[in-house]
Symmetry: C2
Subunit: 257 residues, 2 copies
């Protein structure tokens, strides 16, 4: 029987608020067994870019990652956010190791555009080093991954966090019973965006398609859910969309199997 | 017999110049056997602080690390510089892992003032986790350490890089034959600061004291050399002060035994 592994992707909206971050860390410590965290941090990056006078261009809400933007993203994600998380986790005796995909050659990517649009140093995951990751995890380490990888030629690439979390989950599904959690500020996928309690408890592909066609689920959820279903298709046991408070009650939130 | 380990502290003046950095990486790959890198990056941090409007106060050339300064240092050292180094090392097939002392609980520090002066989030190394570091090193990993540690209570601390390199070298000297290299932009300790070739080939404590009394060696070298002699006193086999070009000729530079 495979060991259980819980992969938690935590969103920028949690990371950037001290109180929300504290709650997340406290609740994370209640999740038993082997764990891996992937974090975002986008608003902090925009704030830094503004202060530095770096203008981040976006196309269809994807950043165009030029050299200056890459530096900002590396500083905020791999520096400030990642190391703050690691120090807080260590204080709770979780043996965190903060990494990017460049470290230990964990994740390589290829440059990814959008149609004909060049998105600069934006990466699409090509390979996940499941052997090294599982050695760390089995040694009791909690990997904390910033959404950056490398091209193997000395260049860093920025990855979309939800997609990277799904790729890591798929790669580790061969070795573990993987639950992938998208942890954000809402209780789950909402049927009515104005009602925070209108959570869809379980979402099957057929119902997802119907909700999408009715435009009940908006673009923002679509990205998460496409990644979620792709993970399920590739051996991930379950995807849960939930908030930090509910990490100690994983029966809540939206469940995708 | 103990295995050989070379610990290389690389200065900010090398890190911040692309050509110097490339030379460093190329020369580093010629250093055989087990290795560990500790890097600085101070001028890049000052530049970022300026652009962000963060004013870093210095007392006797030590930064007073308030909350904003700590964020800047974490972003530059643990983010940009550390991950750039890791990606470049990986491209040369050195299996780099970029860390701070908070990661894997590798290095803990206590807050350190200077006399009655509060230096904020400035740390003095209290313990180095030699067991975990040696496991990584023996598995073929090249640890790349940014000069930050943690207090075990969730706080990051900034460390003076030369001192941290000496402490890591001392802790690992129980397990390895350690050579500690201070790699900077000059060929070694210079008898005449105006003559770049006036390198002291070998420096014993008695001669060091004499040169210090004659004020031939300036404050900047004194800090490095005090750390060097302290390392030798605690089991480090040799300290070499040299530049990047000479990493492939370790018989050059200033040798302290």
């Amino acid at each position: 029987m495979k060991e259980k592994l819980t992969i938690i992707k935590v969103s920028g909206k949690i990371i950037e608020k001290p109180e929300a971050l504290k709650l997340f860390i406290r609740k994370l410590s209640t999740v038993g067994g082997r764990k891996l965290v992937i974090h975002s941090g986008s608003n902090l990056a925009s704030m830094l870019a503004d202060r530095m006078g770096v203008r981040i261009t976006e196309i269809d809400s994807r950043p165009v990652v030029d050299d200056n933007t890459l530096n900002v993203l590396a500083m905020v994600y791999a520096g400030r956010v990642n190391k703050q998380l690691v120090a807080l986790l260590q204080a709770r005796k979780m043996n965190a190791l903060g990494v990017t995909g460049a470290d230990l050659n964990l994740i390589t990517s290829v440059k990814r555009g959008m149609g004909d649009t060049d998105l600069g140093h934006t990466g699409e995951v090509r390979s996940v080093n499941a052997i090294t990751l599982s050695k760390l995890i089995d040694a009791g380490v909690l990997p904390v991954i910033a959404p950056m990888s490398h091209d193997g030629k000395g260049g860093l690439l920025f990855n979309e966090t939800d997609a990277m979390a799904a790729e890591v989950a798929k790669a580790l599904a061969l070795r573990y019973d993987v639950t992938l959690i998208y942890c954000f500020e809402k209780k789950g996928v909402l049927l009515n965006p104005k009602d925070p309690d209108s959570v869809v408890a379980e979402l099957k592909r057929t119902r997802y398609k119907a909700l999408r066609e009715l435009e009940i689920i908006n673009d923002w959820f679509v990205n998460k859910l496409d990644n979620a279903f792709s993970a399920i298709d590739h051996g991930v046991k379950e995807v849960i969309i939930t908030n930090a408070a509910q990490l100690s009650h994983l029966e809540m939130g939206t469940h995708i199997k």
